[in-house]
């Protein structure tokens, strides 16, 4: 009896970032001889690969890092680009899918926690513009926060896009089962995303209940320098601990 809009199955596109600009997020976290270099930015995968090394050189020069970082930075970028390109040949089925994106980041002294909904199939979305608006609306003065938010959004979108491609492949492998398999995959896929029919059907309102507003409200905290330093120190300690644990595990595996 209900009249739903027909479920869209757009023509499949080549794998790409599900945003207006096909920029992929790159995150660097390199430690060498007690020096730690952390950064995140976006990279255009159509740029020639020779750009990577010149970028690494430039960064190291600007930040006065030891030259050994050049190779490490370019390696890290290369590996992340390679990961993206491994999916590039595949087709991506853009099915309307709205997922919650969660932010929990700290940039210098600014801590931001936020949650919002993002349509994976919207190829006109623009995380950078969204991040700019968010910073403007919240009066965040730190210029590094905006790009970090955008990279964080892109990372999550990338992750979800990879999942989509992987599940599509699975479904192709299990083609024998046909209908059953597909519906199974669909239900699995929508576990993280929202039930669109329920949310946007003719029954409900798209306006959230007032008591839920706080869940989707950004929270900004400006830390004092001491707090930020304390957090930095804790992060470093945790990283070292993790590294030690990894090493132990490795040695344990070797021994066995």
């Amino acid at each position: 009896m209900k009249s739903h809009p027909p479920c869209s199955s757009k023509t499949p596109v080549r794998f790409r970032m599900p945003t207006a600009e096909n920029l992929i997020p790159i995150r660097l976290d390199i430690e060498n001889e007690g020096q730690r270099f952390k950064d995140s930015f976006t990279w255009n995968p159509t740029d020639p690969d020779s750009e990577v090394i010149s970028f690494a050189k430039r960064t190291v020069k600007d930040l006065k890092l030891p030259p050994i970082f050049i190779t490490q930075i370019s390696q890290s970028i290369h590996s992340q680009l390679a990961e993206f390109r491994s999916y590039e040949g595949q087709e991506m089925h853009l099915k309307e899918r709205i997922v919650p994106i969660k932010l929990d980041i700290r940039v210098n002294n600014t801590v931001l926690r936020d949650q919002f909904l993002w349509d994976i199939s919207n190829l006109e979305s623009d995380p950078e513009e969204f991040a700019r608006t968010l910073c403007k609306d919240l009066d965040i003065e730190d210029l590094e926060v905006g790009p970090t938010i955008a990279v964080c959004i892109r990372e999550q979108l990338f992750e979800i896009a990879i999942q989509g491609v992987a599940s599509a492949r699975e479904s192709r492998v299990g083609k024998k089962g046909r209908r059953g398999a597909e519906s199974f995959i669909n239900s699995k896929m929508s576990s993280s995303s929202l039930d669109l029919v329920k949310l946007f059907g003719s029954k409900g309102s798209v306006v959230r209940k007032r008591k839920d507003w706080y869940l989707y409200e950004p929270i900004v905290d400006i830390l004092s320098n001491e707090e930020a330093e304390a957090l930095d120190a804790r992060e470093v300690r945790n990283a070292r601990l993790k590294k030690k644990l990894d090493e132990k595990e490795d040695s344990f595996q070797e021994r066995s």
Partner: protein, 584 residues
């Protein structure tokens, strides 16, 4: 089902709009889905709300989605999407606008919106930017670039109380007394146009000359001031005055040119207090313009001169001055000045009838004029005062003639009283004149009076002692001239007051009719809504009945089918047996 109740329509300076809260628009938007009622609701809502929201986003309607919305946000109208449908768009839009109008002074940010609404932030952001672009939200918020003149469209504003700056005094006598107050206030500009809001709205940006800059001193000046002739550089009167002093601009150029330049505007710059001061000063100091300018204080020498020239009776003043200083010969035809007097009093007969004093003044002025005739140079330099088209005094005079005789009489009384208060000498002068001229006016009397003047002046020519008498009579005359001015002003004021009263009454009437119309509109709306609700309920019950009926039919049919034992009835719509029953 949620009841259709009318939104609490607010109308006030704080909210400034009539608007529908979401609680109302939402059920109505559902109603629109039903084709039976769409026309009805559309009519209803279009009637009541399209007229109120009406600035550059005039296309906006609560119950409709406009073409420009479809064009700007096509993804909502392409179909084939759960999260982007026209209905969702409308809900987004209505929510965002209502959210903004909860507090129109506060800037609504996208971050505020997206926490309250389910949906893709990308498309939501597009809707938000679209609404912001059209000024449906955030348009009166001061936030740098957001503030612009395009924001003040025909917004519904109802101001309570009288417009700022308009003062209405009651009665013609009190209006003349307020005039006295302002006259006694001295150099302060007592007569200033009230800053009407409509005036500043309409002309605030196009004030003539506000952007002109003097090429010499760099200061802004208004159009009342001069422009230099040869260099083409704009110049304010201060600089020009300086230059004249230095001899850079030839002296013989200045008078006429200044007259031309000031003709349009300087009359507006002079308040009547200043004019009175000027006249006073002229009488006191004669030709000494420096002293006169000092006396007027607010104007410089050049302004004073040109102002006096432009007064309808400026020539008389100058004439008397010359008479006073020169005591020249004075035989001239009287008739020549008759038409010029008409300017001051277009309707002298009326005044003659009502008040003898008025006639006395006229006679006096005539007498003075005969004395001033001997100044051909002044005559030639300055246009006759019948030509001073936009002279303030002329306007006042014509105003005063429009009033009824009783108004003029009262005004004259008040004016004379005021003058007497101001200066005890005036009282004396009036009294003596009244004694002299208490008799009815007749041609021989005028002759006699003329002779009197002649005698006085002639006497002064020969005898220094007689100068005292002449001066005394001269003083009386000026007081009468001033009384005439005051009279006309007071009469004009009285008339203005009457006009203002009438306007006010009319405004009240219109206001009342507006309010009534609004109330009627609301009532109609209520009625419509109630009707709709009734129809809806009927329809609902009907639909339920139908549903039950169909269900029953269905069950019956199934029962029959089972009884008949027809298997797989779905595959064959008409069993062959049934087909054969039809006659071929």
């Amino acid at each position: 089902m949620r009841g259709c109740r009318p939104g609490n329509v607010e109308n006030g300076s704080s909210t400034r709009y009539l608007y529908l809260p979401v609680s109302l628009t939402y059920p109505l938007s559902l109603l629109l889905l039903s084709p039976i009622f769409s026309l009805n609701t559309k009519e209803l809502l279009g009637l009541s709300f399209s007229s109120v929201i009406d600035w550059n986003a005039g296309w906006f309607k609560w119950d409709e989605i406009h073409e420009s919305e479809r064009r700007s946000l096509p993804e909502f109208f392409e179909g084939g999407s759960y999260s982007r449908s026209p209905r969702v768009y409308k809900e987004y839009r209505d929510f965002i606008i209502n959210k903004y109008r909860e507090d129109p002074s506060k800037r609504l940010t996208f971050t505020d919106v997206r926490k309250c609404v389910v949906g893709d932030v990308g498309s939501l952001r597009k809707v938000f930017l679209f609404l912001e672009k059209w000024g449906l939200i955030n348009f009166s918020v001061s936030d740098g670039k957001q503030q612009s003149e395009e924001d003040d469209g025909p917004v519904v504003i109802v101001e309570v109380g009288p417009a700022a700056g308009v003062r209405v005094v009651s009665g013609s006598s009190s209006s003349s007394s307020s005039f006295v107050d302002s006259a006694q206030a001295g150099g302060e500009s007592a007569f200033r146009l009230p800053p009407l809001t409509s005036y500043s709205d309409a002309f605030g940006e196009w004030k003539p000359g506000s952007g002109l800059i003097c090429g010499f001193c760099g200061g802004h000046y208004r159009s009342g001031l001069n422009e230099s002739l040869n260099a083409g550089i704009a110049m304010c009167s201060k600089c020009l005055h300086k230059d004249t002093g230095n001899g850079k601009i030839e002296d013989d150029l200045t008078p006429n040119d200044h007259v031309d330049a000031k003709d349009q505007s300087s009359a507006t710059c002079w308040t009547d207090t200043e004019t009175l001061l000027l006249l006073e000063a002229v009488l006191k100091h004669g030709d000494d313009w420096d002293l006169i300018a000092q006396h007027v204080r607010t104007k410089n020498k050049l302004d004073c001169i040109s102002r006096l020239i432009h007064l309808p009776f400026g020539d008389h003043m100058l004439g008397t001055i010359s008479t006073k200083s020169n005591n020249a010969n004075l035989i001239t035809p009287l008739v020549e000045y008759k038409p010029s007097l008409q300017v001051l009093n277009d309707n002298p007969q009326e005044f003659t009838e009502t008040n003898g004093d008025q006639q006395v003044e006229i006679n006096k002025v005539e007498g003075i004029e005969t004395a001033s005739q001997d100044h051909p140079v002044k005559r030639r330099c300055f246009p006759p005062f019948t030509d001073t088209t936009n002279s303030f005094m002329k306007q006042v005079a014509s105003f005063s003639t429009v009033c009824g005789p009783h108004v003029a009489a009262v005004a004259l009384d008040a004016a004379i009283k005021a003058l007497c208060q101001e200066n005890p000498c005036a009282k004396l002068a009036f009294e003596t004149n009244a004694d002299k001229m208490a008799k009815p006016i007749s041609p021989p009397y005028i002759n006699e009076f003329k002779g009197d003047i002649k005698f006085e002046d002639g006497d002064a020519k020969r005898n220094k002692q007689a100068a005292y008498v002449s001066e005394k009579s001269f003083g009386a005359t000026t007081f009468q001239v001033r009384a005439a001015i005051a009279t006309s002003l007071a009469a004009a004021a009285a008339r203005a007051k009457l006009a203002a009263d009438q306007e006010e009454r009319e405004m009240e009437l219109l206001m009342a009719s507006i309010i009534q119309a609004q109330l009627k509109k609301l009532q109609y709306k209520m009625k419509h809504l109630m009707e709709i609700e009734l129809i809806m309920e009927k329809e609902l019950s009907y639909v339920q009945q139908m549903k039950e009926f169909v269900l029953e039919e269905w069950v019956n049919l199934l029962e029959k089918l089972f009884e008949a034992g027809i298997p797989r009835w779905r595959d064959q719509v008409f069993p062959k047996t049934l087909l054969h029953t039809f006659p071929l």
